[in-house]
C-alpha cells in the first residue's frame, strides 16, 4: 500500500518535471550525443582517481604527478615528453580533438567504497568522460565496474591483479600495466638461476584480489620448476605491523619467503623480516631468501637498506633505455620532462598512468570521437611503440597490454638515492603471453561496450 503510494508520487513528480522540461527549451544529455558526459564546450574533463591516503599513498602521489604532466603535454605545455617518441603522431599539443584537457582529482583512500563514491562524483558532477587511476586492484576492479555501468572509459593505472583483465574484465576498461601472471612467468627462470630448483616457499599475501592472484601465479610458476609451497598466510591490507606474521616463518621449515605485498605493506613486512634476522638466517642448509614479486622504486626507497639483493619484477624502469638501448625509446624523454618538473625520476606507476592518458587521447583522436564505444574500438588490438616499454599491443579479447617485463633486484651499492634497483633481465613479450582463456583468467566476460545514457 505504502509502496504504491510512493510510486504514484514518484510518477506524478517525474511527469510534472517532464512537463516542465518540455515547455522550456531544454535538452536531455543523452539525446544530444548518445553517450555519457559528451564534452560540449571547448574543454574536456578527465578524472584522475588515485589513493592520497592509505598504504598506497606514495604510488598515488606519483600517479597524480604523471597525470598532471600528461595533461600539460597534451595541452602543448612543457617539452612534450613521450609525445615526441610515440609511434602515433595524432597528438599535436592542442588538447584532444582540439579541446583543452582539464582534469579533476579524487582520493580513493585505497578503499573500494570511497573510490567508487569519488569516481561517481567525477562522472555525475564534474562530467568526466574518462576515469583513470587505481593503485589497488580491489579499487581498480570496483571503479572499472562503475565505469562500465556509467558508460565512461576506465584506463586502469597501477593494478596488477589477474582479475582486472581476467574474471572481472569489462568492455569499458583497459589496462596498460602488466599482471601477476606475467610477473610470475618472468620471475620463475630468474628465481631458478638464483636459488635453484629445490626450495621451500612461505607466502605472506595481501588479503585481496591482487594478493590472491599474485600468490596463485607465483605458486604455480615456482611449483612448475620444482619448488614446494609450505604455507600461504593472508594478511589484511590495512596491516602496518607484520611481526606476528614473520615470527613463525623460520620455524616452518621454509627457506624462501615470498612477500606478496605492495606499497606500504611491503615496506613494513620487509623491514620486519629483516629485523627478525631472516636475511642472515640459514634453513635446510641454505641461505634464507626473500622474494618480492611486484617491485617498485618507491618501495625500494621506503625500504632503504633492506631491499638490497632482493629480486622482483617491474612493468618499467626509468633506467631501461640507458641500459638496454633504443628498444625502450620514450623512457628518456619521459624521465627528462618528469625530472625537470618534479626533481626526481618517475616510478613505474607514473609511467603507466602517463602512458594510459596518452593512449586514451590518441585513441580519441583516431576514432575522432569521445564516444566510449568508438574509443574502445580504437584501442582494441592496437599496436604501438615509443612509450618506454618497447613494442606493445592492446589485446582486444581482454583489454590487456602485452609487452616486455623487467626483472630487477635491489642494488648492493646504489650510486644515489634514486638508483636503488638494478635490471637483472628483460623477459620478452612472448614468454609472458598467455591465452585469453587461461584458467587463471577465466570466468569473466568483457560484455559489450556501454556508451551510457
Amino acid at each position: 500500500m505504502t509502496n504504491r503510494f510512493v510510486t504514484r508520487r514518484g510518477v506524478l513528480k517525474t511527469s510534472a518535471i517532464a512537463g516542465a522540461g518540455l515547455a522550456l527549451p531544454t535538452y536531455l544529455r543523452a539525446q544530444e550525443s548518445g553517450f555519457t558526459n559528451a564534452p560540449t564546450g571547448d574543454t574536456v574533463t578527465l578524472g584522475f582517481n588515485v589513493p592520497q591516503t592509505g598504504p598506497y599513498a606514495d604510488e598515488g602521489a606519483d600517479e597524480l604527478r604523471a597525470f598532471e604532466l600528461a595533461v600539460e603535454h597534451l595541452n602543448g605545455g612543457g617539452d612534450g615528453g613521450m609525445l615526441q617518441t610515440f609511434s602515433e603522431k595524432n597528438l599535436d599539443g592542442t588538447g584532444i580533438l582540439g579541446k583543452k584537457v582539464e582534469f579533476v582529482t579524487g582520493d580513493t583512500q585505497t578503499k573500494s567504497d570511497a573510490a567508487r563514491a569519488s569516481a561517481r562524483s567525477m562522472i555525475e558532477k564534474d562530467g568526466a568522460v574518462m576515469i583513470s587511476g587505481g593503485s589497488s586492484s580491489g579499487v581498480a576492479v570496483a571503479v572499472q565496474g562503475l565505469c562500465q555501468e556509467a558508460g565512461v572509459i576506465f584506463m586502469a593505472g597501477l593494478t596488477h591483479s589477474n582479475d582486472t583483465t581476467g574474471k572481472d574484465k569489462k568492455a569499458n576498461g583497459f589496462r596498460h600495466f602488466f599482471n601477476a601472471y606475467m610477473s610470475a612467468a618472468a620471475m620463475a627462470p630468474v628465481l631458478e638461476s638464483l636459488y635453484g630448483t629445490d626450495r621451500k616457499a612461505y607466502h605472506l599475501t595481501a588479503d585481496y584480489t591482487w594478493g590472491w592472484t599474485q600468490q596463485e601465479s607465483i605458486q604455480a610458476a615456482t611449483e612448475a620448476m620444482g619448488w614446494e609451497t609450505v604455507q600461504n598466510v593472508l594478511t589484511p591490507l590495512a596491516q602496518t605491523d607484520f611481526s606476528s606474521y614473520i615470527a613463525p616463518v623460520l620455524q616452518s621449515g621454509a627457506d624462501v619467503l615470498v612477500l606478496n605485498h605492495y606499497g606500504g605493506n611491503m615496506v613494513n613486512s620487509l623491514t620486519n623480516a629483516v629485523q627478525f634476522g631472516l636475511r642472515e638466517a640459514q634453513a635446510n642448509g641454505k641461505d634464507f631468501q626473500i622474494v618480492v614479486p611486484l617491485y617498485s622504486e618507491l618501495m625500494a626507497r621506503g625500504a632503504g637498506e633492506n631491499i638490497k639483493g632482493i629480486p622482483g619484477s617491474q612493468n618499467w624502469d626509468w633506467k631501461i633505455e640507458n641500459e638496454l638501448g633504443s628498444r625502450y625509446v620514450g623512457t628518456n624523454a619521459f624521465v627528462k620532462s618528469f625530472g625537470e618538473k618534479y626533481g626526481f625520476p618517475p616510478s613505474q606507476a607514473a609511467q603507466t598512468c602517463y602512458a594510459q592518458t596518452l593512449l586514451y587521447a590518441d585513441a580519441v583522436s583516431r576514432a575522432n570521437s569521445f564516444n566510449p564505444c568508438a574509443v574502445a574500438e580504437a584501442l582494441e588490438d592496437f599496436e604501438f611503440d615509443g612509450l618506454g616499454n618497447g613494442p606493445t599491443s592492446y589485446r582486444g579479447s581482454d583489454h590487456q597490454c602485452f609487452k616486455d617485463v623487467v626483472v630487477v633486484r635491489g642494488k648492493e651499492n646504489p650510486e644515489n638515492e634514486f638508483d636503488l634497483v638494478e635490471i637483472v633481465e628483460v623477459t620478452p613479450t612472448e614468454q609472458v603471453t598467455y591465452e585469453p582463456d587461461h584458467p587463471m583468467f577465466s570466468g569473466g566476460s568483457l560484455g559489450s561496450c556501454n556508451p551510457g545514457a
Partner: protein, 400 residues
C-alpha cells in the same frame, strides 16, 4: 492528519518539500561559474544525504531517546549492504526484496547484539557495541571472505544466478538495479540557462523512503513507547524502582534503530551495488554519532541536518585542491597568493577532517543542542523583534 500534531505535520511537510526540491536547492550556482564547485545537487551526493539521514534518524531513536550511546551502529549498515548485494546476486536486481531483506537481517543482528550489550549501560554499553562492530568488521574483512569478498568488496558479477531476473542483459552486461523497471541510475537532466538540474530516479526512491522513515520516527517520538524511552534516559533507576523493566523497551529501541541502519545500508547498495567491509569500521560508527550530535541529539530534524552537513564536507571540501585555491586567489600578488594558499591548504582537500573538527568543536561549545539550537536561536531572535510588533508571530516558529 496522519495522526500528527500540527507542529509535526508542518515539519514533515517542510522536510518533504525540501527533499523533493533538493535537485534545485542544492544546485544554486550555474555550471560554468567558479562557484559550481560548491554545488551538491548531483545524484550520488543527494542519495548519500538522504541515506545517511535515515541512518542518523535511526541512531537518534536509540541515542536521542534512551541516551544509550551505541558506538557500533555501522555494523548494521554494513550487514544491510551485504544482505542487499546478496539479494542482487541470487534473486533479482529489483531493489524491493533487497531492501526488505537488509532490514530484516539488520534487525536480527541488532537483536543478538542488543540482547547482550544492553545488559550494561553507559560507557560499558558503548564499549560492548564498539567491540561487536569491530568483530563484525574483522569477520567481514578477512574471516568471512567467501561471503563478503573481503577487501575487494562484494560485487555483482555476470555469472550470478539471479533466479528471478537475468544473469546478464541481452548485450552481455550486468543488469542494473531497478524498482519494478525504473532504473536506479536513470537520470533526467534539465538545463535552464546556465543551470543544470539532475533528477535521479534513485534519489527520489531514497527520498521517499526517508520521508516514510522520518514519519515513523515522529510517530515513535510522540508515542507512549517514546515516552518510556525518554523515561529511561532521564532516570532508569527510578523506572526500576517503580517496578518497570526497562530492558524490553531499550532492546526494542535498539532493534528499531538497527533496522533503520540496515535500511540505509540496503539503500546504499541499491544505489551502487557494492558492499565493502570498511562500511563497518569504527570510524563509520563514529561518523553517525558526530552527525547526530552535530545536528542535535534528541530532536527530529537534527540528525538529518547533521548527516547532510558531514556528507557535504566529505564530498565537496575534500575535492578542493591547490589548483582550485590558486584559481580563487589569483587576483592577489604572487607572493601573497602563495601565502594565502599555504594557509588555506591544510583545511581543504585531504584536510577536510580538520575543518570539520573545528566546526564540530564550535558547535559543541557554543551550540550544545547542535545545529537545531542554532536555528532556534535565530528564530527566537526574529521572534523577539517581531513580537514587539505583533504577538501572533510566535506561533510560526519552526518546529523543534
Amino acid at each position: 492528519m496522519l495522526g500528527l500534531g500540527k507542529k509535526d505535520l508542518s515539519l514533515l511537510i517542510l522536510v518533504a518539500v525540501l527533499t523533493m526540491l533538493a535537485p534545485f536547492l542544492l544546485n544554486p550556482f550555474p555550471t560554468d561559474s567558479g562557484l559550481a564547485q560548491f554545488n551538491a545537487g548531483y545524484p550520488d551526493l543527494m542519495q548519500r544525504f538522504v541515506i545517511f539521514g535515515i541512518f542518523a534518524i535511526g541512531f537518534n531513536i536509540l541515542f536521542g531517546l534512551t541516551g544509550y550511546l551505541s558506538f557500533g551502529h555501522a555494523a548494521f549498515l554494513g550487514v544491510g549492504s551485504y544482505a542487499a548485494v546478496w539479494m542482487f546476486k541470487l534473486l533479482s536486481m529489483n531493489v524491493v526484496p533487497a531492501i526488505i531483506l537488509s532490514v530484516i537481517i539488520a534487525g536480527v543482528f541488532a537483536l543478538a547484539i542488543g540482547y547482550i550489550s544492553l545488559r550494561r549501560s553507559g560507557i560499558y554499553f558503548s564499549i560492548l557495541t564498539l567491540a561487536f562492530a569491530q568483530m563484525s568488521f574483522a569477520l567481514a574483512y578477512s574471516v568471512l571472505t567467501p561471503i563478503t569478498n573481503g577487501e575487494t568488496g562484494l560485487q555483482i558479477a555476470l555469472d550470478d544466478p539471479r533466479i528471478l531476473g537475468v544473469s546478464q542483459t541481452e548485450d552481455g552486461s550486468i543488469p542494473v538495479t531497478h524498482f519494478f523497471g525504473i532504473e536506479m541510475r536513470a537520470t533526467e537532466v534539465l538545463r535552464l540557462g546556465g543551470w543544470e538540474f539532475q533528477f535521479s530516479a534513485g534519489y527520489y526512491l531514497c527520498a521517499l523512503v526517508m520521508l516514510v522513515a522520518f514519519y515513523l520516527a515522529i510517530r515513535i517520538f510522540r508515542s507512549p513507547f517514546g515516552m518510556m524511552l525518554r523515561a529511561v534516559k532521564s532516570n532508569q533507576q527510578r523506572l526500576y524502582y517503580t517496578g518497570l523493566n526497562a530492558r524490553p523497551y531499550t532492546l526494542a529501541a535498539f532493534v528499531i534503530s538497527g533496522m533503520y541502519a540496515g535500511l540505509a545500508g540496503g539503500l546504499l547498495a541499491s544505489m551502487d551495488p557494492l558492499a565493502g567491509a570498511e562500511r563497518m569500521q569504527w570510524t563509520a560508527s563514529g561518523e553517525v554519532v558526530l552527525m547526530t550530535i552535530l545536528g542535535g541529539a534528541g530532536t527530529l530534524i537534527g540528525p538529518v541536518l547533521g548527516a547532510g552537513f558531514i556528507k557535504y564536507f566529505e564530498n565537496i571540501f575534500s575535492k578542493l585542491n591547490d589548483n582550485v585555491l590558486h584559481g580563487w586567489f589569483a587576483f592577489l600578488p604572487d607572493g601573497l597568493e602563495d601565502f594565502v594558499v599555504t594557509i588555506v591548504h591544510p583545511f581543504v582537500g585531504k584536510g577536510w577532517h580538520l575543518t570539520l573538527g573545528l566546526m564540530f568543536m564550535a558547535v559543541v561549545i557554543f551550540l550544545p543542542g547542535g545545529l537545531v539550537e542554532g536555528g532556534q536561536r535565530i528564530a527566537r531572535l526574529f521572534r523577539r523583534r517581531k513580537a514587539s510588533d505583533e504577538h501572533r508571530a510566535a506561533q510560526e516558529t519552526p518546529a523543534e
